[in-house]
Amino acid sequence: MKSLEELRKIREKAQQDMKLRGSNYRIKIVVGMGTSGIAVGAREVMKSFLEEIEKRGLKDVQITQTGEKGLSSMEPVADVIEEGKPKVTYGYLTTEKAKRIVAEHIVNGQVVSDYIVASE
C-alpha cells in the first residue's frame, strides 16, 4: 500500500530511469572495445565509468562502446562527445583516470587536458 506522495515519487524516479533507455543524453562516453583495448583493460575502465556515474546519480550520460579507432598503442581509449563541442579523445586510461574524467569533465565541464590524446 502506497500513499499518493510515494506513488508520485516512484513515478518521477521511474521516468528518469526510462530516459536512460532512450537517447535524451547530454553527453556520451564511447569506450573503445577492440581486441587491444580489452587486452589492456578497457573493460575495467568501462566498469569504472559505469560505477562512477551510478554513484553520482547522473541520469543524462550515455556510455556505449565501439571498436578500435586506430590508436592501438594508446588504449584504453575513450571519446567524450558533447553536443556543440569538439569531440575529446582520452587515452592510456585506467580506472582512476576514468573517475577523474567523470568528476572533472562530465560533472564540471573541465576537459582533463593531461589525458587527451586527440581532439577534433
Binding site: M1, K2, S3, L4, L7, I10, R11, K13, A14, Q15, Q16, D17, M18, L20, R21, G22, S23, Y25, M33, G34, T35, I38, R43, M46, K47, L50, I53, E54, Q62, I63, T64, Q65, T66, G67
Partner: protein
C-alpha cells in the same frame, strides 16, 4: 534502478515464446554472465516489437538495433560481437533495412504506444511513461459524471465490432443507484485473424487496468472482471501480475489513494467459444452457465451480470480511455475522422509482404494499410480481395481500396470495421474456398439457441459444398443469398445475423468465381 550501459528488450508474446523466446532469453543471460557483462547489460521482457514471421526478435538500446530470427545458437556470437566488441551482428539485424519502408508509426499510436518499449511485467516501467496519471486525475479531480461526459465528448466508439459509442453506454449505467454494479472487459477475442487485444494485454497490461479502473469509477462499479479467453495464457499471467502490482501500490483495493473509492479487479477465463464474445453470452458464461445469448432488452447496462447493471467493453476501447482522460476529449477528436475519432489497431495477414499489426488513425485507406504497413503484396502475387473485419466481415475488391476505413464510411458501403482483421487474398485464390471456410467456422460456432442460425449455417455449408463439387445450378446462389438474408433478419444474436456480409459481398464482387464451379457436372446433376 542500477545503471546499465545497454538494455536488451526481448519480445515475449505468445508467438515468440512458441518460437523459443524464453530459451533465447535464458541463453542470453547465461552468455552475458559468462563474459561478466551481466552487470552492464540488462535483459528485459517486452511485448511484440511489431515484426511477424521473424521468429524471436530482440531490440538493443541505446544502440537502437533490432535483431530478428534469433536462435539459441546465435546467442554466443551475438554477445561476443555486439556486447563484447560493439559490432552489430549484421546478418540478424532487421531494423535498418526494413524500417525504411515499414513505419512502426509510434508517433500516432495511442493504445499500443508502449508495447515494445516497456517491460510489461514492471509497474515501474508503466509509471515511468506517465502511467496511472489518468487514474489519479479521474480519482482525485473528476466526478464520475465528468468522466462519462469526457468520454462521450471524445466520440470514442466500441472497438469490438459494433462500434457503439462508449460514453453513451456508460451513461445508461452511471445514474443507477443503490445496486452493485459491474464492469466487464471483453477480452474473449475469438474473431478469426484478430489478435489486437492479445498484443495490447501482453505488451501493456497496465494500460488496460488503468482504463478499467477509470471505467469502473465512471459508472460506479466496485467490482470489475476481465473475461479473457483461456488460450491466452501469457495475457492471463501478465494481467494477473499487473493486478497484483496495482494492489501492492494501492491503486486497487479499499479506499484507493484515500479517495474513498473501492475497486477490485478479477480475471475470468473463458473456454474459447466464439459466441462468448457476444456480451450477454459472455455474462452467462461468467455466471457459470452455458454460453448462449440472452434476450435484449434488458441490456446488460441495466440487467447484466447477476442481474445487476453491467458495462461490457472491449479491450481496445478501454485502452483508449487513459489517454482521453489525460489529454482531453478535444485532443482525441482531432485524431481520425469526425464521425469516428481516434485510432484503430488492425491486424494485417494473408498475402502481404510483412504480416503484422499497425495502429493508424481512423479513416486511413485500405491501400495505405496494405502498401505501407503491410509492405505491399507478397512478391509475385496480385491483390484480389481483402476480407475486412474477421470472419463476420466483408470481402472488399480492388475498387474499394481507396475507401476511408472508419465506422461511418464503411457503413455506406454496407461494410463493417469489425474487429480490425484484414485478411489479404491474392488472385490465385478462389473466393468460394474462402467463403467455405468462413461458413464452416460459423457452422461450428453457432450455439444452437435459435433455428435460423443453427439450420441456416448448416444449409449454407451444404450449398457451398454442392457448388464446389460442381453439382449446383445457378439457382443455388440465389438460395444462399435468401438463406443468409433470412438469417440476418431473424437470428437471435449477431452471430447468425452477420453471415449475410461475407456471403453477399462474395456473391456481388466475385460471382465469376462461383460461376466457374456451376454446372461442372451437369450430366449427373440430380
Amino acid at each position: 534502478m542500477k545503471y546499465f550501459r545497454s538494455h536488451i528488450l526481448i519480445e515475449t508474446d505468445e508467438a515468440s515464446v512458441q518460437q523459443g523466446a524464453r530459451e533465447v532469453m535464458n541463453a542470453l543471460k547465461q552468455e552475458l554472465a559468462k563474459h561478466n557483462l551481466d552487470q552492464e547489460v540488462n535483459v528485459l521482457e517486452t511485448g511484440s516489437l511489431g515484426f511477424f514471421e521473424r521468429g524471436v526478435c530482440i531490440a538493443v538500446y541505446p544502440d537502437d538495433v533490432i535483431y530478428g530470427n534469433v536462435k539459441v545458437e546465435d546467442v554466443s556470437s551475438l554477445v561476443s560481437e555486439h556486447f563484447l566488441k560493439g559490432r552489430p551482428l549484421t546478418h540478424l539485424v532487421i531494423e535498418r533495412s526494413e524500417k525504411k519502408n515499414i513505419p512502426l508509426g509510434y508517433d500516432k499510436r495511442i493504445v499500443l504506444e508502449n508495447s515494445g518499449n516497456i517491460d510489461p511485467e514492471e509497474i515501474n516501467d508503466y509509471l515511468g511513461v506517465g502511467g496511472y496519471l489518468a487514474w489519479e486525475k479521474a480519482l482525485l479531480e473528476m466526478k464520475p459524471e465528468d468522466i462519462v461526459q469526457t468520454v462521450k465528448d471524445s466520440g470514442l466508439r466500441g472497438r469490438g465490432g459494433a462500434g457503439f459509442p462508449a460514453g453513451i453506454k456508460w451513461s445508461f449505467t452511471s445514474p443507477i443507484k443503490g445496486v452493485q454494479k459491474y464492469v466487464v472487459i471483453n477480452a474473449d477475442e475469438g474473431e478469426p485473424g484478430t489478435f489486437k487485444d492479445r498484443l495490447i494485454m501482453e505488451g501493456d497490461p497496465h494500460k488496460l487496468l488503468e482504463g478499467t479502473m477509470i471505467a469502473s469509477l465512471a459508472v460506479g462499479a466496485t467490482k470489475a472482471y476481465i473475461y479473457i479467453r483461456g488460450e491466452y495464457k501469457l495475457c492471463i499471467n501478465r494481467l494477473q501480475r499487473a493486478i497484483d502490482q496495482a494492489y501492492e501500490y494501492g491503486l486497487l483495493g479499499k479506499n484507493i489513494l484515500e479517495s474513498g473509492f473501492d475497486l477490485d479487479i478479477e480475471i475470468e477465463t473463458g473456454a474459447g467459444a466464439y459466441i462468448c464474445g457476444e456480451e450477454t453470452a459472455l455474462i452467462e458464461s461468467m455466471e457459470g452457465n452455458r454460453g448462449i445469448p440472452r434476450t435484449k432488452p434488458p441490456y446488460p447496462g441495466v440487467k447484466g451480470f447477476m442481474q445487476n447493471p453491467t458495462v461490457v467493453n472491449n479491450v481496445e476501447t478501454i485502452a483508449n480511455v487513459p489517454a482521453i482522460i489525460n489529454k482531453g476529449a478535444d485532443w482525441y477528436r482531432n485524431i481520425g475522422t469526425a464521425e469516428s475519432p481516434g485510432t484503430k489497431v488492425y491486424t494485417i495477414l494473408g498475402d502481404v509482404a510483412v504480416p503484422g499489426l499497425c495502429e493508424v488513425p481512423m479513416g486511413t485507406t485500405l491501400r495505405t494499410i496494405i502498401n505501407t504497413y503491410g509492405g505491399g503484396m507478397k512478391k509475385g502475387s496480385r491483390f484480389k480481395s481483402a476480407l475486412v473485419g474477421g470472419a463476420a466481415g466483408i470481402f472488399l475488391g480492388d475498387n474499394m481500396l481507396d475507401v476511408k476505413m472508419d465506422f461511418h464510411n464503411l457503413a455506406e458501403y454496407k461494410a463493417v470495421l469489425g474487429s480490425g482483421a484484414i485478411l489479404v487474398i491474392n488472385d490465385s485464390v478462389n473466393i468460394v474456398d474462402m467463403l467455405e471456410s468462413v461458413i464452416k467456422f460459423f457452422r461450428h460456432e453457432s450455439c444452437g439457441k435459435c433455428v435460423p442460425c443453427r439450420n441456416g449455417n448448416e444449409q449454407l455449408y451444404k450449398s457451398v459444398r454442392k457448388i464446389k463439387a460442381g453439382y449446383a445450378g445457378e439457382d443455388e446462389l440465389d438460395k444462399m443469398l435468401l438463406i443468409a438474408d433470412t438469417m440476418q433478419k431473424t437470428s437471435f444474436c449477431a452471430l447468425g445475423q452477420s453471415l449475410l456480409l461475407p456471403v453477399k459481398s462474395a456473391l456481388d464482387m466475385f460471382k465469376d468465381d462461383f460461376l466457374s464451379y456451376i454446372n461442372k457436372k451437369k450430366a449427373i446433376n440430380k
